[in-house]
């Protein structure tokens, strides 16, 4: 994982940190093999349990610090779902909370040095985005029937423009899971790769490496912000998409 200097020249492998490796041994990666993905997803589950279950086990009326955090997260997402997706969207609150907690904790845990960022992998984010896409589509057709298609037929536009708009809306609808997943994965991958590149500079610059190290500190702060903002954005976009399926037609 660390920067290697092989004789001459500077070798930086910013992508090495994303390699999926088996936890035990060096065998091939089957679908059931416990890998570092498994490890860090498991840690995310433990963190979630500690944050939301253990901290609230006393059910205190006057909350402790941990319980306040749990209640704050609950209230934050609950309000977001209610405000953006509407009252009907509250049925999907546990689902959205699951997405938020997983993305948020994976992002934050990925910032621990030497850790593995599960959400920087397109495979993971693509599945998350496809789940949202499928949920929205299925729920939309289930609740509204064919009326769900009226989303693509912009009735407020002039009649001549409507077919063109319908094509554009349709394309943007199907691009949603792509942008939804690439945004999350790309942001995290970019941040981690940049930090890695700067770390490679630091390893090769001797005393002057103070400069890249200071840059790493600054970027690390930015990455903390990006990690939480991307979790927030992923969740709020899920709510926005869900509004199309459960809310009233005009948006």
């Amino acid at each position: 994982m660390a920067t290697e200097e092989h004789g001459s020249g500077l070798q930086i492998h910013p992508m090495d940190q994303f390699v999926v490796k088996p936890l035990f041994g060096d065998g091939p990666i089957e679908w059931y093999t416990p890998t570092n993905v498994t490890l860090w997803m498991g840690i995310a589950i433990l963190a979630m349990v500690a944050l939301l279950v253990l901290s609230t086990r006393r059910r205190a009326i006057v909350p402790s610090r941990g319980q306040s955090v749990a209640e704050m997260l609950y209230g934050f997402i609950h309000k977001m779902v209610e405000d953006v997706a509407g009252h009907e969207g509250l049925k999907f609150f546990p689902y959205i909370m699951t997405l938020f907690m997983f993305v948020f904790l994976s992002n934050i845990l990925g910032l621990i040095p030497m850790s593995f960022t599960t959400t920087s992998h397109i495979a993971v984010t693509a599945v998350l985005a496809l789940l949202v896409f499928l949920t929205v589509t299925i729920v939309g057709f289930y609740r509204k029937g064919v009326g769900f298609l009226s989303m693509f037929w912009v009735s407020s536009a002039p009649l001549a423009l409507r077919p063109i708009l319908a094509v554009i809306e349709l394309i943007s609808y199907f691009v949603r899971p792509l942008s939804h997943s690439i945004r999350l994965g790309g942001n995290l991958m970019a941040g981690h790769a940049v930090i890695k590149v700067f770390a490679g500079f630091a390893g090769a610059m001797g005393v002057a490496s103070v400069v890249p190290i200071a840059a790493i500190v600054a970027i690390y702060g930015l990455e903390l912000l990006v990690a939480s903002v991307q979790a927030y954005v992923f969740t709020i976009l899920t709510c926005v998409y869900l509004r199309d399926a459960v809310g009233d037609a005009h948006h």
């Binding site: 992508m15 977001m80 405000d83 953006v84 942008s179 690439i182 945004r183 790309g186 942001n187 991958m189 970019a190 790769a193 903002v229 991307q230 927030y232 954005v233 709020i236 976009l237 926005v240």
Partner: protein
């Protein structure tokens, strides 16, 4: 020789692709600046629009991330 030219093309292409990030920067700056201008004009309405601000920034940024992804693909995958 041929391989070298292909190698060179990859790096040039990756460098060109990173220029797309400048567009994302302009877009995000535009959104944030306009939000600030509006917020200074009507500060009481600003907190209610924070969600829209972040969604807008996310949409603008995603396109920049796409170009970054192209650069990475050219560097490491092609």
């Amino acid at each position: 020789m041929e391989g070298d030219i292909a190698e060179m093309g990859k790096f040039i292409g990756a460098g060109l692709a990173t220029m797309g990030l400048g567009g994302a920067g302009i877009g995000v700056g535009h959104i944030a600046g306009n939000f600030l201008a509006g917020a200074l004009r009507n500060p009481s309405a600003a907190p209610g629009q924070m969600a829209n601000l972040f969604v807008g920034i996310a949409f603008a940024e995603a396109l920049g991330i796409f170009s970054f992804l192209i650069a990475l693909l050219l560097m490491f995958a092609v």
